[in-house]
Every structure is written in structure tokens, then in C-alpha cells.
Amino acid sequence: MKPARFTYHDPAAIADVLALLAEHEDSRLLAGGQSLMPMMNFRFVQPAHLIDLNRVAELGYIRADAGTLAFGAMTRQRQIQRDANVQQACPIMIEALSHVGHRQTRARGTIGGSISHFDPSAELCNMAALHDAQFVLARKGNQRTLGFDQFARGYLTTAIEPGEMLQEIRLQRWAKPYGFAFEEFAMRHGDFAICAVSVLLTLTGSGAIDAIAIAVSGVAPTPQRLRGFEAAARGQMPGHALCREAALQAAAIEAMSDAYTTAAYRTHLARVLTYRALEKAVARFKSQDMT
């Protein structure tokens, strides 16, 4: 198997990428190639022009600002996993990345590539939903920034338009201390998840929920936040009843079905994993409180 013919471009600067995108309508951006290359090998995708981003050094960075963690689109998954700032500021990201493919694919795979591909069960898309990410989209002579709800359009579909490139992903990071958990089920470790659930939370001095975010992916075509539950949970004590309520909310998401996994099974996993994730995040918050 090999890709259909294309004209190859390997620009070294963002400005040159955007000029090429503007010039060639039938083009694709090649990031880490861990999703696009398989699709090209299968000839699901046959772009006339392939614009390789691997020489664009200015797209690979991790910047920790007050309140945000910004990633250049070409930052490799392995680089994020090993970054001391991310390990310290955003440990849930490290847990999520441990489920992303395998060491060989993380060595090439990028955060921008994964998010542009927008697989419904991709861990990095879940992280973007959980952290109310903002997405910087660039085109020749223009740039715009979208929030997660504007960016996420549907199954493998984002708001990125022809001629546009995802340049930066900004996660809104939480101030420590907070509790967190990432729970996933896949048929084998490193496979795409069938369902994944992530939780961030803080508790008040009396042990009630102060702030909470829950993102469920692999169930609907895009990662879903449990907004209704998050609002209702504030001020409540996080015990069995609250975990159960979260689980029921997750189970209420309208689930996809495909040849391998039924909607009923996805719903079951959403319920079980949400309960577990919330319970674990609470326990983690409490254990760090005591130290």
C-alpha cells in the first residue's frame, strides 16, 4: 500500500504554510502522520498537495502562562508527556497521554494533529473539552480564536475551514490543589478508547463540591461535558448519591453505535467510568489535603 500521488511541500515557516494553503485548494497538512498517513495509505484521503509541517520549528512549544497552558500544534505527544511544566501543572494530561497509542506513535504524533483529526474517543480531544480549550486558527492574513463548543462540529469534524490551520491549543488550567481522574476502557491498551471519562474538581473546607468539570468521550460524536450536573453539583457532598447522579447524567448522553460497539454498551461504560472517575477524583483531593 502506498499513498496516491501528491505534490509535496515542506515549508519551514508558518507564513509559508499559510501561503501554500491559500494557493492550493485540494491540500492536506501533514503533522505527525499517525492518522493521516494510514488514511492516505488506504487511499481514503487523496490530496493533490501535501504540506508537511515537520520542518516548521516555530509550531513546537509548550508555554505555561498564568491560568493557561499553551501548546504549539506540532508539539509531539511524547514531548508533552516528558515536560516538567505539564507534569507539575496538569498531571491529568500525563495520565491521558499514557493511553494515546504507543511509544512509537507518541514519538511522532502531535497534539495539533490529534485535535484536528478529532476522533470522538481521542484522549487529547477529551482533555481539550475538560479544560475549556481555546483554539487559535490561522489563515493567510487572518487569525481567529474559538472556544471548544464552537470548534467541535461533529464526528471527525471541526470548525477548521479550507485554507486554515490549527496553530495553537490553549488549555485553561486549574489552580492547585484539585482532584483529578482519567478513566478509560479500550479493547487493548493503546487502542482507541471505546469510552473515556475525565474529572477535575475542588472541594470546600467542609468537603462539599466547590468546582467540577466532567468530560465524557467515545459516546457521542464529540466529547461531552456534563454541564447540567456540574452546575447542580456545586455545594453538594460528594458521596455515593452524587457519584450515582453523575453516572446517570453520563448514561443519558445519546450514544453512537457501530459494527463493533453498540450504543447500549457505550452507555454502560459511560455510567460505570463516570462513577469511578468521580469517586477517584474526590479521594485524590482528600488525600492531598491531608499531606
Binding site: M1, K2, P3, A4, R5, F6, T7, Y8, D10, G33, Q34, M37, P38, N41, F42, L50, D52, N54, S98, G101, H102, R103, Q104, T105, A107, R108, R188, H189, G190
Partner: protein, 163 residues
């Protein structure tokens, strides 16, 4: 009409200049253009790991990289491991522990585990299994591969201690 580029790649310490189709994958370049058929293609879509080679030291899927992307880089394949008849400690452990049967997946596993052991000289069994998760083997059931990797770590540790 094909789109071609002149590339210069160092493979196993030897420099090669070739003109390649830009759609040529790195794995096909190694096998078809250079005749280095030790690198095996299994699935050609990044799932099986048989085609894993090291590019500037990093273990990657050669079916998911274009040859043109290796321009100016240094590639190591399974042919670059042993020196003549002298196997590396990892290869020796694979032989001693019967960590291969048909051998089709073995080159990719050796490339992956060589990188892994350089980064994790004292791995646990769980670490090895995690690192091995990107390589499929249909013969062994993995146990002997895990044993061989752990034995290699042990051998290398003793060698270091003795030095």
C-alpha cells in the same frame, strides 16, 4: 507525472543518496530502494509495529513516515544491530529465551526495545509490557519476549556494575 526529491540519508552508518517519489514511505525506501529487507511491513497503517525503525535514535513506524521526511537524518534498522556474527545482548537474550518463532515481528520489536532499554535501564515487567504494547506478535504470546527484555536489562546492569 510523479513528484520526486533527491534525498540523502544515513542508514546504519552508511550514507545513501537517492531520488525518490515523494509518496514513497520510509519502509518501502529501505526495502525496495536500498534492499534492506530486514524491516518488515505487516499492516502498513501503523497498528502492528513490525516496520519500526529508529530515526535519529527514536523508534517510529516506517510505514507512517515518508522517505523524503528522513532526508538529512540517520536511520537505524535491524541490520545495523549485530556486528558480523556478534549479536547485541538484546538479540542474544531473544535467542536464549525463545522470544521469536516465525520472526516476522521481531525486527520491529528489537528496534522498539533497544530504544526502550536505553531510556529505562531497570524496567519492571509492567514497564516492558507497556512499551511492548505497540508491537503485535501472533506466535509467542509475548511472555518470552518480556522475559528476554528483562534478561537483557539484567545483563546490561551486570556489565555496568563490573565496569
Amino acid at each position: 507525472m510523479s513528484d520526486t526529491r533527491n534525498i540523502s540519508v544515513v542508514v546504519n552508518g552508511k550514507s545513501y543518496q537517492r531520488t525518490v517519489d515523494t509518496r514513497r514511505t520510509l519502509g518501502d525506501f529501505l526495502r525496495l530502494d536500498l534492499g534492506l529487507t530486514g524491516t518488515h511491513f505487516g499492516c502498513e497503517h501503523g497498528v502492528c509495529g513490525a516496520c519500526t525503525v529508529r530515526v535519529d535514535g527514536t523508534a517510529v513506524r516506517s510505514c507512517l513516515m515518508l522517505a523524503v521526511q528522513a532526508n538529512g537524518k540517520s536511520v537505524q534498522t535491524v541490520e545495523g544491530m549485530a556486528e558480523g556474527d556478534i549479536l547485541t545482548p538484546l538479540q542474544t537474550a531473544f535467542r536464549d529465551r525463545h522470544a521469536l518463532q516465525c520472526g516476522f515481528c521481531t525486527p520491529g520489536i528489537l528496534m522498539t526495545m533497544a530504544e526502550f532499554l536505553e531510556e529505562n535501564p531497570a524496567p519492571s515487567e509492567a514497564d516492558v509490557r507497556d512499551a511492548l504494547s505497540g508491537n503485535l506478535c501472533r506466535c509467542t504470546g509475548y511472555q518470552n519476549i518480556v522475559d528476554a527484555v528483562l534478561q537483557t536489562a539484567d545483563t546490561l546492569r551486570k556489565t555496568r556494575d563490573a565496569a
